[in-house]
């Protein structure tokens, strides 16, 4: 198991950062917890189908790395994929397939390697411990999520940041669609275009209804961000539908998705 990390430009006010350290998060006591690695930072522009090495970051004598979206000249929705790699690995300048990330695990301990993924406005920030699993980047998939993290207090803006990483070779850059629909009537309210290897950023708006978000084109990680002009209040991802189930998770997830996606046009 190994994971990509990511950064994107949300808008002209919100900074996106990641923090990672050299300690493997979850391990048995007898395993050594400190790991040697570096990260390569890759970008696939909206209309390109190759990955370009934008930067490399090394720990040098430090235990941690802090990487901010403000360090890079990005357009809104462009996605930097941060790829952990062995310190001795020499990256090419250009790839048609994104390099597989190094596993930062040292044994079979159950929790994924992750990073602090945070968003900041001025002095206010919010974060979660997250990742984009390499396995997910190898499949086209579909996407379904719900609206529980949307907040309705006056003055609050809710954003969906939909992260899509497809690490395999892409022949042509297709335009995909993510939809917002009523969870009750299944009626479609709005559709948004996106492409592979980008962050689709949506100001969700107000609906007097329970809503759902779906794409029949690709999978993705949905991050919900609640903020006003001065403060970030909340950043969290919703559970993938498999997490509603204890056993046979992926069978149950496929039943759930098919029940919903067959009704959602």
């Amino acid at each position: 198991m190994s994971d990509y990390l990511f950064l994107s430009k949300i808008d002209n006010c919100i900074e996106n950062y990641i923090y990672l350290n050299r300690y493997t998060p979850n391990r048995q006591e007898k395993a050594d917890g400190l790991i040697n690695f570096k990260v390569g930072i890759f970008l696939q522009k909206f209309h390109e189908n190759n990955w370009y090495l934008v930067d490399e970051k090394f720990f040098d004598n430090n235990e941690s790395l802090f990487i901010s979206s403000l360090e890079y000249d990005l357009s809104i929705g462009e996605l930097l994929v941060v790829v952990p790699a062995d310190s001795s690995k020499v990256f090419e300048k250009k790839y048609d397939e994104l390099p597989k990330p190094l596993s930062r695990k040292v044994d079979l301990s159950p929790i994924n390697e992750r990073t602090e993924i945070g968003y900041r406005i001025n002095d206010s920030f919010s974060s979660y411990q997250g990742e984009f699993p390499y396995k997910m980047s190898c499949f086209k998939g579909t996407f379904l999520s719900f609206d529980p993290l949307i907040q309705h207090a006056k003055g609050i803006t809710n954003k969906l940041i939909f992260i899509n990483i497809f690490s395999k070779k892409i022949k042509t850059k297709d335009i995909f669609q993510l939809h917002i629909a009523s969870a009750n009537t299944k009626r479609k309210y709005k559709s948004y275009d996106y492409v592979n290897n980008s962050a689709l950023i949506i100001d969700i708006g107000n609906y007097n209804d329970e809503i759902c978000f779906y794409s029949k084109d690709t999978l993705g990680v949905p991050i919900f961000l609640s903020h006003d002009s001065n403060s970030i209040f909340s950043v969290e991802h919703t559970h993938p539908p498999s997490e509603f189930f204890w056993k046979n998770k992926f069978h149950a997830q496929s039943v759930l998705k098919s029940n919903w996606l067959n009704q959602l046009k």
Binding site: Y19, L20, N21, Y23, P25, N26, R27, Q28, E29, K30, G33, L34, E63, S64, F66, L108, S109, P110, I111, E116, S124, F125, S126, S127, Y128, Q129, F146, D147, P148, L149, Q151, A153, K154, G155, I156, K186, E210, F224, S226, D228, S231, I232, F233, S234, E236, T238, H239, P241, E243, F244, F245, W246, K247, N248, H251, A252, V255, L256, N259, Q263
Partner: protein, 268 residues
């Protein structure tokens, strides 16, 4: 040789499995499992977002009762509440259910109940399904506009009858957990941990720097007992990473990170 390899693989799997090995045998698997959530009212408000599991599975509105069981800081049962709804997700203000003058900190678990008619109607789909209640908790400072949400973390709690609850959590060899968190000068950090295990748990916190660890504090916890480690850093403090050790393969804290500008809550 194959038999020996299989035994060795099974032994290794068990060493890292956070749950009872019986859970991998369908006959013994439980029908509903809940994470453990915390509430706090010491200057904070708490909201819970409950999932209507069968409605989400089928994609259709189904009436359910959300059943919440509350426990105090020491893990003693406080009360249960049933809340009917046909919503896919219901936001529940926890302070409306508890006497927040008497109880400032505690935990709760969540189950979902359906009528016999509904259980009969969906019996074929339910036969193959074990629901897991993860939900989300939101915490906000009393004067704040909005919540900081964190999804369900870890629990493995099931209910047998009345309000008796049990756990499929198991203790193994000692595990270390080091979150990817940058502790910052000028911030206060609170690490909340609820024991999911029926046996008493020992939890050791360490500061970690340059791959060396210094002991901070040890907690001994009974089932569902909560501990909190508080670390405050002034603007000139030397900061470090934090680790904790226990015999739980998944021993994760809920972390509150606060200063005058920020209320950040996340699971480790």
């Amino acid at each position: 040789m194959d038999v020996l390899n299989n035994i060795s693989r099974l032994k290794q799997k068990i060493q890292f499995d956070p749950f009872s090995i019986l859970e991998s045998i369908p006959k013994f698997s439980k029908k509903e499992i809940s994470d453990i959530f915390i509430f706090r009212f010491d200057g904070f408000d708490t909201e819970f977002i409950a999932e209507n599991s069968l409605a989400l599975l089928t994609g259709s509105k189904i009436l359910c009762d959300h059943l919440l069981l509350f426990f105090d800081e020491q893990g003693h049962f406080l009360k249960s509440e049933r809340l009917p709804t046909d919503l896919y997700h219901k936001k529940i203000s926890i302070k409306t259910l508890l006497d927040i003058e008497k109880v400032k900190l505690g935990s709760f678990v969540h189950f979902v109940r359906y009528s016999d008619e509904i259980l009969k109607e969906y019996s074929s789909i339910l036969k193959e399904t074990t629901f897991q209640h993860r939900g989300y908790t939101g915490f906000k400072l009393n004067d704040s506009l909005a919540y900081s949400y964190v999804h369900g973390n870890y629990g493995g709690i099931y209910k047998k009858h009345q309000n008796n609850i049990f756990s499929v959590s198991r203790i193994r060899q000692k595990f270390v957990y080091t979150p990817q968190v940058k502790l910052k000068p000028g911030f206060k950090y609170e690490f909340f941990f609820v024991s999911p295990n029926k046996k008493n748990i020992i939890l050791d916190f360490y500061k970690v720097k340059n791959n060396k660890k210094d002991h901070i504090k040890t907690f001994k916890l009974k089932f569902l007992e909560i501990c909190s480690l508080v670390l405050s850093f002034d603007d000139n403090s030397e900061v470090y990473n934090v680790s904790w050790e226990s015999h739980l393969p998944v021993g994760r804290c809920i972390i509150f990170e606060n200063n005058m500008h920020t209320n950040n809550v996340f699971h480790s």
